[in-house]
Each structure stands twice: as C-alpha cells, then as structure tokens.
C-alpha cells in the first residue's frame, strides 16, 4: 500500500485576484480519483475536503505525528445529512430525554455542566469508513484516506447518570440518539443511532460538552455530542438534542440497513459473495500508523527513528511491531505514555539506515485482547485495519 499524501499542493488559478484567508490548494490522495481540494471551514484549519455537502473534511496525515491528541481545528468532520446546524443558541438549547423513562428531562447546557459529575475520557473517534479509498477492489462510498480519525480528551456528563435521573423503566432495551442535522428531503431518513441499554450505561459513555479543554467546534457537534469510547464514530451523534429510551429494537434505516458488516470472521467476505447475514458494526479494530515518514520519501543515512500511533476498540495496546524489510522480520517498538485504553498510543523504534538502500517500513499493533491487524474486504469498506507499508530511500 502506498502512502503518498500531499503529492501535489498547488495554488489554483481561479479566484486568485481576491485576497482570501484560505488559498485554494489541492492534494492527491494515493488512490485513483484521489484529487482533493483543501479548504478552511469555520473554526477549522485547512483540511482535505471529502464533500462540501454534507460537510465531510479529512485530517491531513502530518497532524497525527504532532502528538497523541488531535487539535480541535484539525479534527475530521463527517455529517450524514446536508442541513447541518450553523446557528446555535446555547441559551435556548435543550437535551430532551424521553421514551421509557419515569421522569422525562429537558436539560440546558448549564444543567449538564452543573447537575452531573463532570468526567473526562481520552478516546479515539474513527469513522467506520476511514481508509475506504484503499479497499481493493474499490467500493462506493466516501473515499477517505486515513484521516477520518482523531483522538481527544472529552469532558462531559455520564450518559448513565442522565438516564438514572430520568429513571429508565422496566422493559427498556435500547437508547436512541438524535442530533440537529436534517435531510434535504422529507423522504430521507432522519439520522438516528441506538445503543444497547447495557452499552448506554457503560460509565465511559458521556454526553460531551468539551473537547481538548474547549467548546466543541460547531462542525464537531457543538454544543454537545455523544462520546462512545471504543465504538466507531457513527454512534457519536453530534449536536445531540434528543435521547429516547426504547422498549423495542430500533428498526430505523441507520441501524437496520446502514453501518452493518458481514457476520463473518473479521467482517470479511469475497467480492463475489452475496446473501450473507450482517450485524451492526460496533468496536474499532486495532490499527497502527507510521506518522513521521512518508511513503516514497527519502531520508538521511544513520540512526533513524520510526514513530507512529496505535489504538484499538477499547482494551489498549499490548505491543507494536516494526519491520524494515516489508514484513519479513519484526521487532518491538517502545510504547509511549499510556493515556488510557481508548486513546492513541504513541510508539517509536529506531534502525540504522544504510546509504543508498531502500527500506519498506511497516507497523503492526496487537491489542490487550490479542486482536491483530488483518486484511479484510467488505462491500462497504468498513473497519479497515490492514498492515500498511511506507517505503523510504536512503540518500547516498
């Protein structure tokens, strides 16, 4: 797998007569139809535009080398529906809790901040379709490279404390979440996601009103979003304003049809397979990335550091192996500080780079549950976690 981010960064000609805070630029992601524009959206630095409607923005690869936490202005954006909130009055905002509860709630932001214990969790948010553009054979969908992920310190109120305040009644089995985004057409299903009640009551699941010590950017769900550490981003409903406790399994499109994977080992099938059963995608798969070297790049001879990140679906990282020969031999990397089992974990390794040589570098993480990175294929390109390689040439 090639990793040639930012092959082309060129100022575009159109519109250049007018001074603009955001120079029009483009990049080429390393797969067919990989040309992308760069743009500066509100509260964001220049990011890679996947689609402008709905707003979907990818984090450039270099950001992940800067530290374990992804800055708010660099954090990726993925909405499902074209009408996203652009005018938010926090004073008027209410989070409603209804359905199978004895005491329905209507909570203001200050209520969330002051009536419930504030807790923090470091957790990776990754889109189910992150890296879809690398699926082989290719599949339709949002053609992300590896930047539909990020790690943040989330602060908020525990969902279970909110549900306890509302007194969930007997017979409740799921909890459904809705945010402020809306479709363009009344015939398009509203975006709704549900968690099993036991997951909703996990103490790590929070209604977050802060991200990395600041208000959430509007495009990341201001004023509050759901944070489900270990689960894929589809459940992390943005601009959350409605919680409904259900007594029947949620049958809405986004649970029953979308975001499902083959009920097979590794969620994997052959491209010619059909008729397989599916299950909802839940936990992140274990991944690792080399962040300080670029595929196709050249380096100086001598002692060379290989640095990267690893994460999994909520057990933490046991080890990261690094190879300099394309995966034939491996050695253990040194793991960086432990920021919790849901967080990015940094790692480093070194090798002696010989002048004139070419090295195919690779990393592979193993989770504390023993999960390893695998090659998989499914029709939606979900949960990719293959071992990726970065080839570098040493200057003579």
């Amino acid at each position: 797998m090639n990793r040639k981010h930012f092959l082309a960064a060129s100022a575009a000609a159109a519109g250049s007569a007018v001074a603009s805070p955001a120079l029009a630029q483009s990049v080429s992601l390393p797969f067919e139809s990989g040309d992308r524009t760069l743009a500066t959206f509100p509260q964001k630095r220049q990011l890679i535009v996947l689609t402008s409607r709905p707003v979907q923005l990818e984090t450039p690869a270099a950001v992940f080398d800067a530290g374990e936490f992804t800055p708010n202005d660099a954090f990726f954006v993925r909405w499902h529906l074209p009408d996203v909130p652009t005018r938010i009055d926090p004073a008027a905002f209410r989070l409603n809790v209804r359905g199978a509860v004895a005491s329905p709630l209507s909570l203001a932001i200050d209520d969330l901040r002051t009536q419930f214990e504030a807790v923090e969790v470091n957790a990776v948010l990754e889109c189910a379709g992150n890296s879809r553009g690398f699926s082989t054979p290719r599949v339709p969908g949002g053609q992300w490279a590896d930047g539909a992920m990020g790690n943040a310190r989330w602060r908020g109120a525990r969902l279970r404390d909110i549900l306890a305040r509302a007194s969930v009644t007997n017979g409740a089995i799921q909890v459904r979440f809705q945010g402020a985004e809306r479709p363009a057409l009344p015939t398009t299903p509203q975006f709704l996601k549900s968690l099993e009640l036991a997951v909703a009551n996990d103490p790590n699941v929070i209604v977050a009103y802060q991200m990395n010590g600041a208000d959430l950017p509007v495009l990341n769900g201001f004023p509050v979003r759901l944070v489900v550490p270990g689960y894929f981003g589809t459940y992390w409903v943005k601009a959350l304003n409605d919680i409904e406790v259900l007594t029947e399994p949620d049958q809405n499109y986004w649970m029953k049809t979308a975001y499902r994977v083959p009920n097979t080992p590794n969620y994997s099938v052959a491209p010619t397979d059909s008729g397989f059963a599916t299950v909802p995608l839940t936990n992140l798969t274990v991944r690792s990335f080399i962040t300080n070297l670029t595929d196709g790049g050249s380096i100086g001879a001598g002692r060379t550091t290989v640095r990267g990140i690893a994460f999994d679906g909520g057990t933490g990282i046991r080890s990261v192996g690094v190879s300099t020969d394309g995966g034939t031999t491996w050695r253990d990397a040194d793991l960086g500080r432990d920021l919790g089992k849901f967080s990015f974990r940094r790692w480093t390794a070194t090798f002696d780079a010989q002048a004139g040589q070419r090295y195919v570098l690779a990393s592979r993480a193993v989770s504390n549950a023993g999960e390893q990175q695998v090659n998989r294929w499914n029709p939606s390109g979900y949960a990719r976690n293959a071992v990726e390689t970065v080839a570098v040439t040493v200057k003579s």
Binding site: S20, D35, Q43, V49, R87, A91, R113, L185, T187, T188
Partner: protein
C-alpha cells in the same frame, strides 16, 4: 477553486452565571453566546457532458458533486445500484425515466479502465 471568505461570527449574548464543573478542574466556559458559522460555497461542479442537467437535477439536492467525482471507476451495475440506493434508502425522487441517462453520464465521468 474558489473558497469564499469564511465568516465566523460569535454574536454577543447574555452571559449567565459561570458554570462550574461538578467534579474537578477549572470552571467550564459558559457557552451561552449565540454561535453562527457560514459554510464555504460548494466548489466542485459536474463536468459538462451529455446528461449533466439530469445529474444536477437528480443528485445535487442532497449532496455535492464530489460524491460522484471522487468515486473510483465503478461498473454500470454498480452505478445502477447506487441510483437504486438513493431512491430506496434515501428517498431521492429520481424518475425511472432518468436512470439510463444518469448511468451513462456517471459512467462517462469515472470510466472503468479498459481491460
């Protein structure tokens, strides 16, 4: 590409009592001000080719053109399936009579490589 000037306006609003986090740490910012953002204009258009009017009419209500232009080379069957999905799953009012022309346009935008 024409990225419009980004406007982020935070209008002054009544600021209530400073919220204090219950458990620990510094006081949380009192997020009580009206927040508005202006999204940049869409900057990718469908290429001019036979069928482009139908593509604009049937596709751009719900998503911008990148969702088409960034796709890999897809087969006729795959594009037909995508159109069916937009109808059935997302309620797009794409007339049956548009299907053939739409598929032809989409195929021409992302040609399948010759074997």
């Amino acid at each position: 590409m024409n990225v419009r000037r980004i406007v982020l306006t935070i209008l002054a609003g009544a600021v209530g009592a400073f919220a204090v986090a219950a458990a620990s740490g510094a006081p949380a910012p009192a997020a009580q001000k009206l927040v508005t953002i202006a999204l940049p204009a869409q900057n990718v258009a469908f290429r001019d080719a036979p069928g482009v009017e139908v593509a604009r009419k049937d596709c751009l209500t719900c998503h911008s053109a990148e969702y088409v232009t960034q796709q890999p080379a897809l087969s006729k069957a795959a594009w037909t399936n995508e159109i069916a999905k937009m109808r059935a799953a997302y309620g797009a009012p794409i007339p049956d009579a548009d299907t053939d022309g739409l598929v032809a346009y989409l195929l021409a935008q992302n040609p399948v490589a010759k074997k």
